[in-house]
């Protein structure tokens, strides 16, 4: 009976591993999260922005604090194919790239713009990247979730 007792523990462990494996075996590849057009959103008095079209709502107060900005009239938001959110606004020196999580957006990359604060920014969805335009100067930046390409 002793050998049977010895074998029981690994058997249970193997069974648990199999079960865990079964739970995460369905993975869909090549999901395209890309938002064809940027969203231009005005925050409310609490700093909340609500994109009804693409169904996302969050507060921009932490971003403003991080940027050191007192407030903005509107922010520009776009999501790339990999599901990362790109956020900036008029007068920002950075583009903030967030990764969505469970009830949260965590800063994945903070991209400092080489030409200083951006004026009248606009995001465009492109096949392989996100295009950021400074509409005042005509300057463009090609971005992905890792920064300027």
């Amino acid at each position: 009976m002793e050998p049977m007792k010895i074998l029981r523990v690994p058997a249970i462990l193997a069974f648990m591993l199999i079960m865990t494996g079964c739970g995460s075996s369905l993975v869909i590849q090549n999901v395209d999260y890309s938002q064809p057009l940027e969203s231009v959103l005005s925050p409310d008095s609490d700093g909340q922005i609500h994109d009804k079209r693409y169904a996302i709502q969050f507060s921009i107060t932490p971003i403003l604090e991080y940027e050191g900005s007192e407030g903005v009239d509107e922010i520009r938001l776009i999501r790339n194919a990999n599901g990362f959110y790109f956020v900036t606004a008029d007068g920002f020196s950075n583009v903030y790239i967030f990764e969505p999580g469970e009830g949260e957006l965590s800063l994945h990359e903070e991209v400092e713009l080489p030409d200083g604060p951006i004026s009248e920014p606009a995001f465009n969805q492109r096949d392989t990247h996100i295009e950021l335009i400074n509409q005042s100067s005509g300057q463009t930046y090609n971005l992905d979730q890792n920064g300027i390409r």
Partner: protein, 407 residues
């Protein structure tokens, strides 16, 4: 700077501008593109909605083409922004809206042209009738002034009658024109004209109204007129009445859309007042005409009473002739027969029928009765009776002679 260098600089500048332009186009915000498209489309929609002129709509058509050629390359972005709507749907909808607006503008312009034409015609009718009225009035006044000069009055009366005939003929032409246009006018056209009727200073209904008032005025103020004139007036009234019965409802619906029934009632009442004015003069004048020819009729104040009066006169004459068969009765018959055939039937006959004073069958009935009267009133000769008695006497004499000889 020499010419080749100049050309080089020019070409370089053009190329630089071209690249700059391309760069600027490349740096457009997709969001801005779709926002501009939606904004321009909405503005165009609104302008198409409020524009009624074909020329302006033609310009909007060009602008729509420009909008399409400008944004066609951004169709994908715009579709993404408008989802579940599409660029094509929005553009097609506007195309249809523009097409409908162009059709409507064309209809409105046609209608405006028609209304303008109508206004010109109405002005022309109004001016013509005013001229005719002025002529008649001037003649009427001259007639009143020439009361002392019989010869001059007779000449003026002929002229006055001619002016009234001319006026009647013009009014009849106007009525004919109205009838041909509005008797079978469809509801759509009625509605279209009535929507624009407020633009008309004067409408056909208003002209008809003033024509009737003028007619009443002529009847009431013309003291020199005689029986044939009043008979002609009644005939004109009947024609007017008949036309009004046919087109009156359409006319008031078209030209007095705010209160058609009241306008119709007012015209009906005017028509009755006109008839009353004519009749006030007509029956008395007819009675005088018969009386002046030695025919004393019973009092009559309506077409039926007039017929009854004549029929009774002829019937009584017939009865008297049957009873007496005198020379005098034959004279009475001859007098009536002459007046009846040579004046009443020959001169007034058509107008009496048109004016619904006598019907054709009533005239025929009087003619039949008149034939009976003729038969009864012809004086019979005694010669035949005498010859008969002589013949009988000769026969009796011969018989007596034969019997006597035998014995």
């Amino acid at each position: 700077m020499n010419a080749p260098m100049k050309k080089f600089y020019t070409a370089t500048t053009v190329l630089l501008l071209f690249f700059l332009q391309s760069a600027l186009i490349a740096q457009q915000s997709d969001y801005q593109v779709q926002q501009s498209f939606v904004s321009e489309l909405n503005e165009l929609t609104q302008r198409i909605d409020t524009t009624q002129s074909s020329a302006e709509l033609a310009e909007l058509e060009i602008e729509l083409q420009q909008l399409k050629s400008e944004y066609a390359e951004h169709e994908e972005i715009i579709n993404a922004a408008l989802y579940p709507e599409t660029y094509q749907n929005r553009v097609n909808t506007l195309d249809e809206q523009l097409s409908v607006a162009i059709d409507n503008a064309s209809v409105i312009e046609q209608l405006n042209t028609r209304i303008d034409g109508l206004m010109v015609e109405i002005d022309s009718y109004r001016s013509e009738i005013t001229d005719l009225n002025e002529d008649s009035q001037a003649l009427r006044q001259e007639l009143q002034r020439a009361e002392s000069n019989e010869e001059q009055q007779a000449a003026l009366l002929i002229e006055y009658r001619q002016s009234l005939e001319e006026r009647n003929s013009f009014v009849s032409g106007f009525l004919q024109e109205l009838m041909s246009r509005y008797q079978n006018v469809d509801l759509g056209t009625q509605q279209e004209i009535s929507d624009n009727a407020e633009r008309l200073d004067d409408s056909p209904v208003e002209i008809l109204r003033s024509i009737i008032l003028d007619y009443i005025n002529i009847v009431d103020e013309s003291s020199s007129l005689e029986t044939p004139d009043y008979v002609a007036m009644r005939a004109q009234h009947e024609y007017f009445f008949e036309v009004w019965e046919r087109i009156g409802t359409n006319l008031v619906n078209t030209f007095v859309p705010d209160n058609p029934s009241e306008a119709k009632t007012e015209m009906d009442e005017l028509m009755s007042a006109w008839l009353l004015s004519i009749d006030n003069q007509l029956w008395e004048s007819l009675n005088n005409s018969f009386s002046q020819n030695g025919i004393e009729l019973e009092v009559f104040v309506s077409p039926d009473e007039f017929y009854n009066a004549i029929y009774t006169y002829v019937d009584n004459g017939h009865a008297t002739s049957l009873e007496r068969n005198s020379e005098e009765d034959f004279g009475v018959y001859q007098n009536f027969n002459t007046f009846w055939n040579e004046t009443v039937k020959a001169e007034w006959g058509d107008m009496l029928i048109e004016g619904e004073i006598l019907t054709q069958s009533q005239i025929s009935e009087i003619d039949i009765k008149l034939n009976d009267w003729e038969e009864a009133s012809k004086p019979t000769s005694n010669l035949m009776f005498i010859l008969l008695i002589v013949s009988v006497a000769v026969i009796i004499g011969l018989i007596v002679l034969l019997i006597t000889k035998k014995n």
